[in-house]
Amino acid sequence: MSLALEKPGLRPVNSPLRRFSNLLYRRPNLYLLMLLIPPLIWFGAIYLGSLLNLLWQGFYTFDDFTMAVTPDLTLANFAALFNPANFDIILRTLGMAIAVSIASAALAFPIAYYMARYTTGKTKAFFYIAVMMPMWASYIVKAYAWTLLLAKGGVAQWFVQQLSLEPVLHFILTIPGVGGSTLSTSHLGRFLVFVYIWLPFMILPIQASLERLPPSLLQASADLGAKPRQTFMQVILPLSVPGIAAGSIFTFSLTLGDFIVPQLVGPPGYFIGGMVYAQQGAIGNMPMAAAFTLVPIVLIAVYLSIVKRLGAFDAL
């Protein structure tokens, strides 16, 4: 109808640009595709492509005599992951990642709860800054600083001495899997550094999930005669699980991939990151390094699927 009314003189010029924009208008999918292709190429080719390329090298053969890599395909590298020595490295890293995640959650929850429920305005801002401040300092500086804090003449042991707890410390250091020859070369010391460094990544997601918790639910719980303990166990904790799960993704994966802290603090023995570094750097055994990079990928995939069941992604 409108076509019929149109005057011939006002008919739009049928320029290529106009035809192109008409095309885009008629086919919105094409328009979307054009917008998405550049980032998809980036993600697909550069990110996934190089990752798959790296993993593919895990099938290559490394020759012990010439120390050269040949593209003959083999499963030997992945089988070697289950050597006792290599499997130790995986278990050691995994155990630490789980322990650090649990401890971070236990420490972070009260802080996050206080931040979410009992602070407003300036106090809240203060807490935010206090939690994030350590993240503004260089990670390496913090890790090095801990080697001094934990040393025999350091601050941590001075406190232990002042409180006359030295026998307790010596006893803890003799427990296998926890101790070590001194505090700074013990599993405990390494664990403390990890918890310190990743704690902010746990506090913030928990705090966010607790802020979303409607106060009316707590009032209802109290009205119905629940004790504080029951309210906590049956209302607050279940509703904050997504936050804890989200935080634990950070602490778990960051611990799994770290290779600086294990070098500076703790007993001998590599973590996965240090092993990858040693394999590709020291021996040039790229295939074995590539096989080892598969381990954190698999572990984190398993972890994410567990966490997904806990509802960490429900709020997304």
């Binding site: 120390m67 001094l148 003449g153 020859s181 070369t185 500076l264 001998p268 023995g269 020291a282």
Partner: protein, 383 residues
């Protein structure tokens, strides 16, 4: 037309062939004019132009004399040096013994013509044929500096210098009456297997170890057993000089393999430490200035290799780095090093040192470096 084309083609192919011949890199026949540029991969502190301390400058004079502008890329580990050289774009590298043979085997570096280096005559005759850079009678570079891996000990614990490496290898009570468990350190690198082999060479002569870098299966197994037995004694496997210095200061570490750098640093800090080379001898490192196979500035590189072998330059580097010169005349030729410098850093130890070199299989006779690496990782992890 076609004649023209053919002429062009043949000219092109001649040019290609000629350039291929250059690429195949016979050692240079004569050193020509400098190319105006020189790129070196070096340890931090090895190539100083007076930016850290005005007195320590052995680059400015070279640039003035030759017109070759020096740019330095520092590398923190031997592995980093190998990977930088594999990437290419550099002319020279100051490679340690655990990197040099890898570079030669990987064809990253080329043999040099020592006749073109007038100062070659200065080089310590004991080093001129070092098997960490001379392969098949071809010389891959010029020696730069060397140093021993000494036994560092706490003088409050040891009233007299320990005479054997067994204080770090075997469980025992130290002279202060307390066990050495948790008070000794070992180096966090597979090359440390050679230290254990050197100890066993005299502790268990029946094994017949000749060279700690050439171990057959039986010898290798005995060495690994020793290292496994050492593992529970170890306070920390060190690789970071700063961390080791703080461990000696704060953590009560009583004995460890170490470098002159840490000993001098701790002494300057008034710590009760000293160092010694026990009766078994010691391992040590010797660095070589090596020329990249595809070096873009070979003339400048030759000029630098010659320059670096002057007694004054050698002495200055040794003073700055706490190392020892590859040129004996340097011990008296540098004010910075002083008259006693060489002695302090351990010049007389040369004969007792088994210099680092990358262990090679040599056709299956010996255990190669890749297995050293894997096994040492397992041992550090308590396997």
């Amino acid at each position: 037309m076609s004649v023209h084309k053919n002429a062009l083609l043949s000219a092109l192919s001649t040019a290609l062939l000629a350039s291929a011949a250059v690429q195949a890199a016979e050692p240079l026949k004569a050193v020509g004019a400098g190319e105006g540029q020189l790129d070196i991969v070096a340890w931090p502190g090895y190539i100083e132009r007076g930016e850290s301390d005005k007195a320590y400058d052995w680059v400015t004079g070279f640039e003035k004399e030759t017109g070759c502008k020096v740019s330095v890329k520092t590398a923190a580990t031997s592995d980093e040096m190998v990977s930088l050289m594999a990437k290419g774009g550099y002319d020279l590298v100051t490679a340690s013994g655990d990197a040099s043979l890898r570079l030669i085997a990987g064809k990253r570096v080329q043999p040099i013509n020592t006749a073109l280096i007038p100062n070659w005559k200065n080089v310590d005759p004991r080093m001129q044929n070092g098997d960490w850079f001379v392969v098949n009678k071809q010389t891959y570079g010029t020696p730069y500096q060397w140093g021993p891996n000494v036994l560092l000990y706490n003088t409050n614990v040891f009233k007299e210098a320990p005479t054997s490496w067994n204080v770090v290898f075997e469980p025992q009570n130290l002279p202060d009456g307390k066990p050495n468990k948790g008070r000794v350190q070992a180096y966090d690198g597979p090359i440390y297997i050679a230290d254990a082999a050197l100890y066993l060479k005299s502790a268990k002569p029946e094994l017949g170890i000749q060279n700690p870098y050439e171990l057959n299966e039986a010898q290798y197994k005995a060495v690994l057993d020793l290292l496994r037995q050492q593992q529970p004694l170890i306070h920390r496997y060190w690789h970071d000089a700063t961390v080791q210095m703080s461990d000696v200061k704060n953590e009560g570490v009583a004995a460890s393999s170490s470098w002159g750098y840490m000993v001098n640093g701790l002494k300057a800090d008034n710590q009760p430490v000293a160092s010694t080379v026990p009766k078994e001898g010691a391992t040590g490192w010797a660095d070589t200035t090596m020329l990249h196979t595809d070096a873009k500035h070979p003339n400048c590189a030759y000029k630098w290799m010659d320059w670096s072998l002057q007694p004054k330059v050698q002495g200055d580097v040794a003073a700055w780095f706490g190392s020892l010169p590859a040129v004996p005349a340097a011990c008296t030729g540098s004010e910075l090093l002083g008259a006693e410098g060489c002695k302090t850093n351990g010049y007389d130890l040369f004969e007792k040192i088994a210099f680092w070199k990358t262990p090679q299989a040599e056709g299956g006779k010996f255990v190669p470096y890749s297995r050293w690496t894997q096994d040492y990782i397992a041992i550090m992890g308590g396997r």
